[in-house]
């Protein structure tokens, strides 16, 4: 908890992956997201922080159109993934979600074997040519999620039998196996103990090599530890967005400073 290596953080300036402009979200009569503009870069970890109910999870779910599954939710504004509007009628949300994977707050392994959990995405999208190829994808994904050594001898055991931390890493492996370009994580460590949290954080840092990662978190230390960019949401507004080091050491907006120092939230 005390390795706040903020100052010497290296920021990788690279291509723009997702750019959101003027995003508004309504849940029935509630105006949940108000005019948010965010640029998410490739091979970068972007953290969304803010008090509960500030809309950060809602905004995250806009990025792979998971909000489509909620009837009363309406999204307007423009979200571009690699320059293409993901809310364009021509875009298939199913295809989009294959490109923008998601890991949820609560570990949610399917009631299947560990192997089948990881192989689920590749099977659906036809990513493997044959059984050997699929085996390879499963192993690579489990290794990426730093859980291979723990489960390699029991790939046929049900995924629901693992511990909470293992389940969450299994879910990350499952998301990685689909070979997404962006990985969205909605408070991935909120159900985990500190040791499992540390493992997942290490993993997130590692995943940055290949993907663009967006993580929603309640823990400011976590945001500071794993991210290069941080966005602070408050009451549905994007208050401040910038380099993680700058947000945590030298926030511009007084609300950000109040939140980071623990005075609002």
């Amino acid at each position: 908890m005390n390795d706040m290596r903020i100052a010497e953080r290296a920021t990788h300036v690279s291509t723009r992956k997702i750019s959101a402009t003027g995003v508004q979200v309504h849940y029935g009569d509630t105006h949940a997201i108000k005019d948010v503009n965010v640029e998410i870069e490739d091979k970068t970890v972007t953290a969304f922080i803010g008090p509960s109910g500030c809309g950060k999870s809602t905004f995250l779910r806009c990025l792979n159109r998971m909000n489509d599954t909620i009837d009363i939710c309406r999204v307007s504004g423009q979200i571009l993934l690699d320059g293409e509007d993901i809310y364009d009628p021509k875009v298939d949300p199913v295809q989009l979600r294959a490109k923008v994977g998601m890991v949820f707050q609560k570990p949610n392994p399917f009631p299947k074997s560990i192997y089948d959990n990881v192989a689920y995405g590749p099977r659906i999208h036809g990513l493997a040519k044959n059984k050997a190829d699929l085996d390879d994808i499963v192993e690579k994904s489990l290794r990426r999620a730093a859980i291979w050594d723990e489960v390699k001898d029991r790939l046929d055991a049900p995924g629901t039998g693992l511990s909470g931390g293992q389940q969450q890493r299994l879910c990350i492996a499952r998301a990685v196996a689909t070979q997404p370009e962006v990985l969205l994580m909605d408070e991935p460590c909120s159900a985990l103990d500190p040791i499992a949290t540390a493992q997942v954080e290490e993993l997130i840092d590692d995943l940055r090599q290949k993907f663009s990662v967006v993580i929603v978190t309640h823990s400011m230390q976590q945001a500071a530890r794993v991210s290069q960019k941080t966005a602070f949401f408050h009451l549905g507004n994007l208050v401040e967005f910038g380099e993680t080091g700058q947000i945590f050491t030298n926030p511009i907006d007084p609300r950000t400073e109040s939140y980071i120092t623990g005075r609002i939230g």
């Binding site: 792979n64 998971m66 599954t69 009837d71 199913v94 295809q95 989009l96 979600r97 294959a98 490109k99 994977g101 998601m102 890991v103 949820f104 609560k106 949610n108 392994p109 399917f110 009631p111 299947k112 689920y120 995405g121 659906i124 999208h125 049900p158 629901t160 879910c171 499952r174 998301a175 689909t178 969205l184």
Partner: protein, 485 residues
């Protein structure tokens, strides 16, 4: 009366408890009403228990003492003691009726002698028919019976009331502010719940025991091997019946199978649509509509099978294909029974699918799966144990169904001895175990003949099969349930 005592006890005990606490209910151990309830229970429970016991014991005791009054010599050859006793009861009852209607005075009734030969006519005039003229011994016994019954009823009323008052008074005397009335009431509630549970269990046991007993009788008269392995069902009352269960069992399983083939896919798909695709408005309308199917009496389904489905199948399906035969067929009964089972499958499956956590759906959708892929590969496997349970429940229901079979598939047993083609032809008339039980027991039958007793053996076999299915269903549901979480 007992309840009046209980009400008084309730009020008195409540007041006494309040007084003991100087009218401040906070000083009481329990709420005031608990003291009242305790008193009411103390009045009601023992007295009603005695009442119940008395009502069971009284006839037994009186019968034994009265039946001693009839000497063996008075029992003529064509009758038995128990028949004489029923005469005694009839006469005693007749005397009561006669007095009630003013045809006799009470003194006259007790003083009657059989010399008054018009007793039969006099009783007949108040609506009590006697088979023959009354013997002196029987009349005497009847008068004795009547007196004892009246006296016993009086004693009973007295003792029950006394007991109620003692109970109420005892509870009243114990009601003060430290008395733990609340705990006593708690125990009474527990006892009530336990007795309700044990009644259900004991009844099941009782049913099984009575079936076992009759089945034992049956196997005393008919060989078990030819019952279980006989392939011919041809009962007659001349004593040379073939009572093989296999044709009936085949009919049962075949019809149930067709019913399930109809009900499971339709029910399951309806459930999936309802829980995953339908909007809340549609769901609110459609779900009750489907469940209405479950509320239709099976006899109405039977009519539907008999008048609509049967003839339609015969005219538009069987005859064009070159099959002859009547409107009764396995297919008719199976189809209609399948329709009956749809709500069972759909309603249970719907609940089970709804119980699958939303996080699993999100997980699958978040990986880029389509809705139907999610349902096929995640939701159905997660809900499978419950769905299997629902299907097995529907199977039990199908196996036990009678009315639809009688009206849709007829009452003639499958003819397994006529070759395979006859046996598996769905347009043949066939019948099931339940239907045969009804036909074996209804009508003018001899209750000692194997043709009648076979009904019990059939019933027991059926019971064992459905019990096995239920146990299997429970086992499956339990074994795989933990995978949900």
């Amino acid at each position: 009366m007992v309840f009046a005592v209980a009400a008084i006890g309730f009020w008195a005990a409540r007041n006494r408890a309040m007084t003991s606490a100087d009218g401040d209910s906070r000083a009481l151990h329990s709420l005031p009403n608990y003291y009242g309830t305790n008193a009411a229970l103390s009045a009601i429970v023992p007295s009603l228990a005695v009442l119940a016991l008395w009502l069971i014991m009284q006839p037994l005791l009186i019968e034994t003492s009265v039946s001693k009054l009839i000497p063996d010599a008075a029992i003529s050859e064509d009758t038995t003691r128990s028949l004489m006793m029923s005469d005694v009861r009839r006469i005693a009852h007749g005397l009561d009726t006669a007095i009630a209607e003013g045809g006799m005075t009470p003194d006259e009734a007790t003083g009657l002698r059989s010399e008054l030969t018009n007793l039969r006519e006099r009783l007949a005039s108040v609506g009590v028919a006697l088979g023959s003229d009354v013997q002196a011994e029987v009349l005497f016994a009847a008068q004795k019976y009547r007196m004892m019954t009246r006296r016993a009823s009086l004693y009973m009323m007295f003792s029950v009331l006394t007991l109620a008052m003692i109970g109420a008074a005892y509870a009243w005397s114990r009601s003060d502010k430290d008395f733990r009335a609340r705990n006593i009431v708690e125990k009474a509630v527990l006892a009530l719940l336990i007795s309700a549970a044990s009644i259900a269990i004991l009844t099941t046991l009782g049913i099984v025991m009575s079936m076992l007993f009759e089945t034992w009788n049956f196997f005393g008269q008919y060989e078990a091997t030819s019952f279980f392995f006989g392939i011919k069902w041809a009962p007659d009352f001349r004593g040379d019946s073939a009572l093989g269960i296999l044709p009936l069992l085949w009919g049962t399983l075949y019809i149930s199978l067709i019913a399930l083939v109809v009900a499971v896919p339709i029910g399951l798909f309806a459930a999936i649509y309802m829980s995953e695709y339908a909007g809340p408005g549609l769901r609110a309308v459609a779900k009750p509509l489907i469940e209405i199917l479950a509320g239709i009496p099976t006899i109405v389904y039977g009519l539907f099978a008999l008048l609509t489905v049967g003839p339609a199948l015969r005219d538009y399906f069987a005859q064009p294909l070159g099959f002859s035969g009547g409107a009764d067929s396995v297919l008719t009964a199976g189809l209609v029974m399948g329709i009956m089972l749809i709500p069972f499958v759909s309603s249970l499956s719907d609940d089970i699918i709804n119980a699958v956590p939303q996080s699993l759906r999100d997980g699958s959708l978040g990986l880029g799966a389509t809705k139907s892929e999610t349902i096929r590969q995640v939701i159905i496997p997660a809900a499978l144990p419950g769905i299997v349970g629902a299907v097995l429940l529907a199977t039990s229901r199908a196996i036990g169904e009678t009315m639809i079979v009688v009206m849709g598939a007829g009452a003639a047993a499958a003819q397994l001895d006529k070759g395979l083609l006859e046996a598996i032809n769905p347009l043949e008339a066939m019948t099931t175990v339940t239907t045969r039980i009804v036909s074996q027991l209804t009508g003018d039958t001899d209750f000692a003949a194997p043709e009648t007793l076979v009904a019990f053996a059939l019933g027991l076999t059926l019971f064992v099969i459905t019990l096995g299915l239920n146990v299997l269903a429970l086992y499956i549901v339990r074994k795989y349930r933990e995978q949900y979480e």
